[in-house]
């Protein structure tokens, strides 16, 4: 399954990328498993997405939980807690 991953703000800077369109392995079906897959890249990925770090995930521009299920061509965004206003 292919998804479009977007990163914003501090995470965009630390990951040194604002987007990618990876082909996910077949066992990656939920937000939780996607995050695990990203953590396996090690380095800043393992560090920033570690359990206990505060960040948010949105699927197709709606906030999503760890249990949310991914679909082909979903837009999945990973970003720090928001600080507007």
């Amino acid at each position: 399954m292919k998804v479009r991953l977007l990163y914003f703000a501090r995470l965009r800077e630390v990951f040194a990328t604002s987007q990618e369109t990876p082909e996910l392995p077949p066992n990656i079906q939920t937000v939780a498993s996607l995050l695990n897959w990203l953590r396996q890249r090690g380095g800043v990925w393992a560090e920033e997405l570690a359990a206990g770090r505060a960040y948010r995930v949105a699927i197709n521009q709606d906030l999503a939980t760890q249990e949310a299920v991914l679909h082909e061509n979903d837009e999945v965004a990973v970003f720090p807690l928001v600080t507007g206003g």
């Binding site: 501090r10 521009q61 807690l81 928001v82 507007g84 206003g85």
Partner: protein, 150 residues
């Protein structure tokens, strides 16, 4: 209802009077203006850069205004959030709510600000004499949103 994410400044008179001039049922307009401060957590701020998530931002803001309308009598509302680079004392955000009575106008305006602060995908980066830094989210903002018990 007007929702805008923009780099340009806005005119408070024009925005607020648009909420009541065509509607003589409006008896109350509560509004909030958020500004760049020159000091944040003890460090001087020279400029503030605002990044957002285009597409999701507008969707999130529209949802927050819709939630407020479901809860209070909102005759009209305007929400403008600026992005890009801003200087101290420049307006960042305007939320203005028109209602028949002041209680609804105040509550809806404060509700929208509390959820904008915790749900709308904006991020602030400050430039200070010591360098750039991303602004940290505040626990107090989460508490402010939580008290509405949505």
């Amino acid at each position: 209802m007007k929702i805008s994410v923009q780099a340009e400044p806005f005119d408070l008179n024009a925005e607020v009077s648009a909420l009541y001039q065509a509607n003589p049922k409006v008896g109350a307009v509560a509004s909030f203006l958020g500004l760049v401060r020159d000091i944040n957590e003890g460090q001087g701020v020279a400029t503030l850069s605002l990044e957002h998530y285009p597409g999701m931002t507008e969707k999130a803001l529209a949802q927050i205004v819709e939630d407020a309308r479901r809860r209070w009598e909102v005759l009209d509302a305007t929400l403008i959030h600026r992005v890009g680079t801003l200087h101290p004392s420049e307006p960042i955000v305007l939320v203005a709510v028109a209602s028949s009575h002041r209680g609804d106008a105040f509550a809806a305006c404060e509700f929208i600000m509390d959820f904008l602060k915790t749900r709308a995908p904006f991020w602030k980066k400050e430039a200070t004499p010591e360098g750039e830094r991303w602004v940290d989210a505040r626990e107090s903002d989460e508490r402010a949103a939580a008290r509405w018990q949505v």
